[in-house]
Symmetry: C2
Subunit: 251 residues, 2 copies
């Protein structure tokens, strides 16, 4: 069994529709490569009680929790003190991070707001931020990262080598043009039942020129089994009189 994970997106800007999240897809793809099973994503508001309660809930249920958002210098950045509260530890200056940030800013500009970014839950291990210095951190199994995508990705890559890995997901896609889900459903259900340890997903698409089709994705941890299921999917498409094309349909 692979380790499990949950992503917690902390951000009013996602719930208001102001911002299109792009962090979930990045983390999801990387976790699949690392062999960590992403089981759930939650988006919650910048509300102290909600953050604390949700962190306590998900950190007990999953091996890893990845949070994004709420670690900047402004009043609405409350993730770090909430994590401290969830773990029942003080939120205090982290001397090494304080030193790095102090050295980064011109004299006189390392003000109280910026010093908040060097304030971590006691016992947290900082995650280096090669983009803008202010660190993320891991507290137990909770990995706290920035919401800005460029910074989040850099933090994730700092963190990735140290995470307990599992078996990477093997995923094989075939697609066909002009084939509809209703036409292949019975045959695909049969393929799925003969390949129980593989997840077979069916995703209709429509190209910008209006031409339609369906993509069939076989996915699992047992690589030979995934290849066998994907072969069966390929053969099903042919049997129905369509041309299987390897990969995902171009956007």
């Amino acid at each position: 069994m692979n380790p499990t994970a949950c992503i917690l997106v902390i951000g009013n800007e996602i719930l208001s529709g102001r911002t299109q999240d792009v962090n979930v897809q990045y983390i999801a793809r990387r976790l699949a490569e690392l062999g960590i099973s992403l089981m759930e994503v939650r988006v919650i508001p910048d509300v102290r009680e909600t953050i604390v309660t949700t962190v306590c809930d998900v950190r007990a249920r999953f091996d890893h929790v990845f949070t994004t958002g709420g670690i900047g210098p402004t009043h609405d950045d409350i993730t770090a003190p909430c994590i401290a509260e969830a773990f029942g530890v003080p939120w205090s200056i982290h001397p090494e991070s304080f030193g790095l940030l102090e050295a980064h800013f011109p004299p006189g500009e390392f003000n109280a707001a910026r010093q908040r970014m060097a304030t971590l839950p006691e016992g947290a291990i900082p995650i280096r931020n090669p983009v803008s210095v202010a660190p993320g951190f891991s507290m137990g199994n909770v990995h706290v990262m920035a919401g800005v995508p460029r910074i989040m990705r850099a933090m994730f890559e700092e963190l990735a080598p140290g995470l307990t890995h599992g078996t990477p997901v093997t995923s094989i896609s075939w697609y066909a043009l002009d084939l509809y889900e209703g036409t292949l459903a019975a045959g695909l259900s049969d393929v799925q039942s003969r390949h129980g340890q593989v997840d077979i997903g069916s995703y209709p698409f429509r190209r910008p020129d209006g031409r339609r089709g369906v993509a069939l994705v076989s996915k699992g941890l047992d690589a030979p089994a995934v290849h066998q299921a994907a072969d069966a999917v390929h053969d099903l498409i042919e049997t129905l009189g369509f041309t299987p094309i390897a990969g995902e349909p171009p956007p």
Copy 2:
């Protein structure tokens, strides 16, 4: 108090990173316009027990639950029977939807897989699908929609006029170039504490040309209070020696 809502994204394809979700932002923006407060988003896998348990949980906690995904004709489309199970009602042919779909397909093509799309929890009210006929449905406070964005949006707009509305969110943004969060944090915190019923969010950005800045969003249900807070944000930017620009920074 506005009615509350939760979005439940049901889809392995989001958790695997295959697909970039775009439905959440659409629904979030429309709910803000309708005066329905989006409190949480969850992404969960196509797993029966997880869907049933999560639906039971969130429908008790929020006034509205909007689900996307899992209502097509293939084996991995299990949302409808799971909703039936969550409500403890049979999952059975809905005659009117059956008739519409039967008339839509050429003779002989309305097969068993497609008939599944006319199978609804007993007591569900269908949501018309002007794009591809197969309906969504409302079961109590749970509104079940397609995952394909074009179809989801059409279903949402069918649903919207019948939802209990509240007070629309008023949102006013100002942004400034070359201003950083660490510079304005103390002043902004002061503005926030003087305008307690308004949510003021601070969002740094970086343009493709590398030039940076910050967007400050004042948001709330009390329109005059939001205008007052936004005026204070405007004045703060000026006081700091920067030029406030109305609206959101261009992407």
